[in-house]
Assembly symmetry: C2
Homo-oligomer: 324 residues x 2
DNA sequence: TTGAAAGCGCTAACAT
DNA sequence: ATGTTAGCGCTTTCAA
C-alpha cells in the first residue's frame, strides 16, 4: 500500500484534488464540511505532503548542510547540537555529513547537498592536497568554519581568533619556567594551521625563547597523528611542556600523555586545544584553549539563514586560555 | 541565475532534452560526440541532477533517518559516526535528527522524515508520558534502538543485553565489601529502565543484600538528573557505592562525584554505564558497563537496508562489565 | 465554492 | 541515434 496523495484522497471522497489541496492548506475557500471530511480522511490515511513535489515547485523547505570531519570529537558534536537547536528556531532543515577530513568524501557530500537544493552549507574545509581542484559548490551559500580554504576568492567564514590565547599559553608556560616547549599543530596546508603556528612562534620569541625546529610538529589534524607525535616527543624527552593547536590533535596527544602517566619522566606540562568536558576532570584538570562553540554555531546559522550578500565576511570569535 | 536543467542544456545545444538525459545517464545510445558536448556543457554549468525530480519519479535515493536524544553524549556520537560510515557503504543517505528526548520534537522529526520518503528510521524512542498517542510513523520501517516503546505491536529493535553485566557489577561491589549500593536509572516509563532496575535488584538479592528503596533513584534519563541524584546521594551519605543505568545519567552522576572529589567522605565506588573514552582516564579509571556501539550500529544499518519482513525481531548485543 | 489546466525536472515507453 | 509524450504530487492561475 503506497502513500496517500491529494489525488488518492480526492478520488476517495469523489471530489477534485484541488479541493483537497485547498483544504489541507487551510484555504478559507472550502466549505467547512468538505474540509472536515478531507482532514479526517487524510489523518486516517496518514497523509504527509511530498517534500519532493514541493521542492520541484520551488517552495522547498530551506535546507542547511553541515559538513564536519567527524562527530565524535566533543567540539564538533557540541557544534552540531547547537546548530540543530538554532535551525529548529529558524525553520531550517539541517543535514549533517561527515567528511572524515577527506577531500573526496567532502565533494560527494557537497554534491548530495546540491541535489537536494541546500541553500547554504556550513563546512569545515578538508585539508587540500595542493593540486586538487577546489570543491564545486554550485550556487550554494558556503560558510567556512574554523578553517579557511585557499586558492579562491574568500568565502564568508566563521573563525576563531586564537592568536592571543596561544601567545598567552606560551607566555604562561615560559613564566612557569619551561624553556623547551613542544608544539603540535596542523600542517600549513590549512591556513588555520599556519596562523596558530605563527602565534606559537610569536609567543615564544616574545618570551625570549628560541624554539628549536624539532620541537615543532605539524601534521594532518587527526587524533592518531596527535597521539603519535606526542609519543615521539615523550620518547625524545627533550621537551618539558607541550602545546597543541587542534581539536583532534589535542585529544590524541592527551591520550598518549595520560597513558604514559605512571612513567615519572612523563611529567610534561600540557595545554590543549578545545575544551571537552572531561578536560576539567582528567589529571587534576587539563589547561586548554577554549573555543566558544555556541557563539560560533549561532553565528553560522545566522549567516546561513540570511545570506550576507554584501561580500565575503570573516567573523572571528576570541578563544580563551583556561588554566587549570 | 538559476540551476541548469537537462532542458536548459538541451536548448543550449539545440538538441532534445532526452538526448541530454541519456548522455548524462551514460546510455549507450548516444553518439560519442553528442555525449561529449553534453557532458562538457553540463560540467561548465555545474549541472547537478535534481533530487526532487528523481524522488518524484520514485527512483529516489534511499534515505535512512536517525533519531537520537542528542549527539554530545559520546555513545550517541559514536553510534552516529558508525552509522554514517556504514550508510556510505550501503549507498544510503543518512539524515540525523535530535529529539532531546522530547515526544513532540520526536514526532516532528518523524514527519519530516516521512516527507522526504525515508525508507527506514532508526530511533531511540523518547520516554512517553503515558497518555500520549503513539508516534505516527506511516509506512516507514522503524527500528528501535536501546529502548523499546510500549503500547503497540512490537517493532524490530536493536537492544543491549545488559542484565548479566549489571548483575556482575552488583556482585563485584558486594564482593568488594559494599553493603549499601545506590542505583540511578531511568524511570519505568522506559522498558529498558525497568529491565535494568530488575537486574540491579536481582544482583543485589543474589549477593544477599537487601536494598533499601531510598537508595534507588529512577528518573528522566538526562545528564542534569543524573547529576542531581548523585548529589543527593552524596549528601545523604548512606551509600558506599553507586551504580548507574543510563548513558546520560552516568555522565551526570560522574560529574557530580568528580567535582566533590576533594571532600573525603565522597569516596564512593562508582560503576557507570557506557564507556566514553575519558572513563579510562578520569579518577584512575572509572569502572563501567560497556555497550558495543559499533556492533549495534552495523546491525541497525543492516536492518534498515534490508527490512526484515519476517516479523518484528529483537536483537540483543551483550554489554560487558569493565573494571578499572 | 469548486474544478481544470499547466508546469516544476526527470525518465520509461513509444515514435521516428 | 534522436525526438515526443506522459506522468510522478503539488500549487498557481484561470474558468465555471
Amino acid at each position: 500500500m503506497s502513500r496517500a496523495t491529494i489525488k488518492s484522497i480526492a478520488k476517495d471522497l469523489g471530489i477534485s484534488h484541488m479541493t483537497v489541496s485547498r483544504a489541507l492548506s487551510n484555504s478559507p475557500k472550502v466549505q467547512k464540511e468538505t474540509r472536515d471530511a478531507v482532514l479526517e480522511r487524510a489523518h486516517e490515511l496518514g497523509y504527509v505532503k511530498s517534500a519532493a513535489a514541493l521542492m520541484m515547485r520551488g517552495d522547498a523547505p530551506r535546507i542547511l548542510g553541515l559538513l564536519l570531519p567527524n562527530i565524535v570529537n566533543e567540539f564538533y558534536a557540541r557544534f552540531a547540537n547547537d546548530m540543530a537547536l538554532a535551525c529548529d528556531r529558524h525553520a531550517l532543515h539541517l543535514i549533517i555529513h561527515l567528511t572524515n577530513d577527506d577531500a573526496l568524501t567532502q565533494q560527494q557530500s557537497l554534491d548530495r547537498l546540491q541535489e537536494v537544493q541546500a541553500t547554504s552549507v556550513v563546512m569545515v574545509p578538508a585539508p587540500e592536497s595542493g593540486d586538487r581542484a577546489p570543491p564545486m559548490t554550485g550556487s550554494m551559500n558556503v560558510i567556512e568554519l574554523i578553517r579557511q580554504s585557499e586558492h579562491r576568492e574568500r568565502r564568508p567564514a566563521v573563525l576563531v581568533e586564537d592568536g592571543p590565547a596561544i601567545r598567552a599559553a606560551v607566555r604562561h608556560l615560559a613564566e612557569t619556567g619551561h624553556r623547551s616547549i613542544a608544539y603540535i599543530g596542523a600542517s600549513s596546508a590549512l591556513s588555520s594551521g599556519r596562523a596558530r603556528l605563527d602565534a606559537f612562534r610569536a609567543g615564544a620569541s616574545a618570551a625570549g625563547l628560541n624554539v628549536s625546529e624539532d620541537l615543532i610538529q605539524t601534521c594532518v589534524p587527526s587524533f592518531a597523528m596527535g597521539r603519535a607525535q606526542a609519543e615521539a616527543i615523550l620518547k625524545a624527552g627533550c621537551a618539558t611542556a607541550l602545546l597543541c593547536g587542534g581539536f583532534e590533535l589535542s585529544n590524541g596527544a592527551l591520550s598518549a600523555l595520560i597513558e604514559a602517566r605512571e612513567d615519572p619522566k612523563t611529567d610534561l606540562a600540557f595545554i590543549g586545544y578545545g575544551d571537552p568536558s572531561f578536560y576539567a576532570w582528567v589529571n587534576e584538570g587539563v589547561s586548554t584553549i577554549r573555543v566558544p562553540v555556541t557563539e560560533l554555531a549561532l553565528h553560522a546559522v545566522e549567516l546561513a539563514a540570511a545570506p550576507d550578500r554584501t561580500g565575503a565576511r570573516q567573523t572571528s570569535f576570541p578563544a580563551e586560555l583556561i588554566l587549570r
